[in-house]
């Protein structure tokens, strides 16, 4: 991953709101970050934090009553929010594709694997001739470890792991630049999950695909990501290299999250951290910093103003008053070593 080449995706002040009976819910609230070319970015957070919504927004798949209410999403410099239908169809699938949580429902039950892949090509490249298509598909399934005999199978005849691989295949067959994996391994057994993680890393190494891995499992992110973005209640609260985030998490939420993850390591003596409270209702979010009701180190300013995302150390961004100055803030601002 180069730091000098322009990022593949630039998200600027993105906000997504849902109209509900009890008012407007801001599912994603002024989120900004980049996705660098060829990296695996892990987007992690609990249910309701907005990570899945963000993923859908990247493909402009937000359905009413939700809508993208503000911000920009630049893909290769172009703002996808301005795309017309035709351009959007080209973008989806060919440039960016998605792998969903439940592969059973996201594959067409009346199409075989081969038909899925062929259709994907044809939608984007109507004139593709069958021979070259067959060759492409052949190479792809070999790479993904799908057996030849499986090409004629229907989704219900495949196992969960196999279906996910077909989904990855659908993303790759068109040489998409960005693959968004939305809880792609959540419904899988742990060994299958591990294999899929290996697979994703391999295809990134070989094809240079950029991967946005959306998950609630922070351990998974440690296994596969280069950088980590942590979301809470619609805000991006921390972003940085995976080693930094795990060695020295800055945001109290990240710290709490990491301390509450169980492991199989039996030599660990420390107890799990029990985070008080629950994720907030996004129709009536807390004032100021949305995490302040549950934060062990909350200051008076935290309930009054919302901190912005601030680069506390090179490449390490935090959304927290601990690391920023404000005229009304009385406490000392923490300095972070590079």
């Amino acid at each position: 991953m180069n730091d000098t080449t322009p990022p593949l995706v630039q998200i600027r002040d993105l906000s997504v709101t849902y109209k509900t009976r009890l008012g407007d819910t801001s599912a994603v609230d002024k989120v900004s970050f980049d996705i660098r070319r060829g990296e695996i970015l892990g987007l992690v957070g609990e249910s309701g934090c907005g990570k899945s919504t963000l993923g859908k927004a990247l493909l402009r798949m937000i359905m009413p009553p939700g809508r993208i209410s503000a911000g920009q999403i630049l893909f290769n410099g172009e703002d996808i929010l301005t795309f017309d239908d035709k351009r959007l169809r080209d973008y989806r699938g060919r440039q960016a594709s998605m792998i969903f949580q439940d592969p059973m429902t996201s594959l067409n039950p009346v199409q075989t694997v081969e038909q899925h892949l062929t259709e994907a090509i044809q939608v984007h490249d109507a004139g593709a001739e069958s021979q070259s298509m067959a060759r492409r598909i052949q190479a792809l399934i070999e790479r993904l470890g799908i057996m030849q005999s499986r090409l004629a199978s229907y989704p219900h005849q495949l196992s969960g792991g196999m279906r996910q691989r077909v989904m990855i295949g659908l993303g790759l067959v068109l040489n998409a630049g960005l693959i968004i994996a939305d809880e792609a391994t959540t419904s899988l057994d742990v060994i299958v999950e591990a294999k899929l993680v290996d697979q994703l890393r391999e295809i990134r190494d070989e094809y240079g695909v950029t991967i946005l891995a959306i998950t609630h499992n922070i351990a998974l992110v440690a296994e596969m990501a280069d950088r980590v973005a942590v979301m809470y209640a619609g805000n991006l609260v921390e972003l940085g290299e995976v080693n930094r985030i795990f060695d020295r998490p800055l945001h109290p939420y990240t710290q709490g999250l990491l301390a509450s993850v169980p492991t199989t390591e039996i030599n660990e003596r420390k107890e799990l951290y029990k985070m008080p409270g629950e994720p907030p209702n996004l129709a009536r979010p807390p004032s100021g910093c949305r995490f302040h009701p549950r934060c062990p180190v909350a200051m008076p300013i935290c309930s009054r103003y919302r901190p912005g995302l601030n680069e506390a150390a090179p490449g390490h961004w935090v959304h927290c008053w601990l690391y920023q100055d404000h005229p009304e803030k009385e406490e000392k601002t923490l300095k972070v070593a590079a």
């Binding site: 509900t20 009976r21 008080p276 409270g277 629950e278 009536r284 009701p293």
Partner: protein
Amino acid sequence: MEEKQTTPEAVPQWQLDLDKVGFVRRLFLARKWYGGDWWFVAVSAVLLLFIILLGVAPQWFAPYDPREEVGPALLAPGEVPLGYVLVVPAGSSVTSIKEIGTNQNNIGFVVGSPASQALRKTTDELNAAEKEAGSGITYQPRPRRYETNELGLTDLTEGKIDGFVASMEELEPLLPNFPGVKVVGDLSGNTRTFALGTNQIGQDVLSRVIWGTRIALIVGLSSAIAAFLLGVPLGLISGFVGGPFDRILTMLMDSLYSFPGLILAIAIAAVLGAGIGNVIVAIAVLYIPTYFRIVRGQTLSVKNDLYVEAARSLGTPPWQILTKYILPNVIPSVVIIFSVNVADAILTEAGLSFLGLGLPPDTPDWGIDLARGQDYIRRAWWLITYPGLMVSLVTLSFSMLGESLAEILNPRLAEL
């Protein structure tokens, strides 16, 4: 309720707010939540209340007895009955013959026309009534004879006579030329018109339509309730118990269900014979399979839900599982079916009586009226229009209620 939160997980503020309000306020808050649906419920509720009121106390609303022949046959809505009428000067405050039937008044008519007989007949009737009442009043207007209606009307306009009698038929073409006079009603002082007209035998349509509500509601509700009371328990038990019992019952219900509704009702009504009770039975039998199927289907699905299994693992005896766990979760969908069912039952009842099955012929019933009026579509459109409209309106109200109940009865109503 700012009680200290001792729970590790705080209860969200909006949930606390929800409980602070009383039931009435919640009804109003519901308006904001449901938007259009709320109005739907409100309108259908109001409509239904009105309809029920009509059915419960038709005598408060109906101007006449529905079986009484109160007017001339086939009178259009609002039409003044054709016949012999009293005409007075435009500015006069007289409204009936009684006021100008005494010795002092001059009443004109065309010589030799039936108008004079009509006048005499009327005054005779009035005198007979007064003699019986012992009031001592006599009516004896002074007759004035004219050659033509126009002459009489001219004198009337000039005030030379107090009143003029003629038939509406003759007067109609002339009235535009005599702006100084007005028709005040027929000779017996009755200015009645019939808001919705009269039918072939002179019964007031409005009264019949209002009284018809009672029959419709009685038959519709009774048959729906009977079907409910039989179909729901059968469906519950059948779905819960399963096995051969279930299979036999299902086959039975399916065969009943596959009959076209009206035909089955006709068959049953024909077998049972006439009478309102038999009509109710016939329609009830028709709808039992509907409840059975819905309830059985729901029971089958709820039976496998996790909370039922949880109840079983608690050691709950089967009877309690059925009544406490399955029934309450099955009932909401049935209530919705019920309201739509009442609507349908009313239609079926109208259909049955339309065909002459079941109700005694003189009952004020929409179906009967529709049957009788179908030959008069062109001549007297009001005979079928108003009963038809009522059937539609009641059907609509019940259906609307049913649909809007679907929203209300959903236990997630308080959730975001």
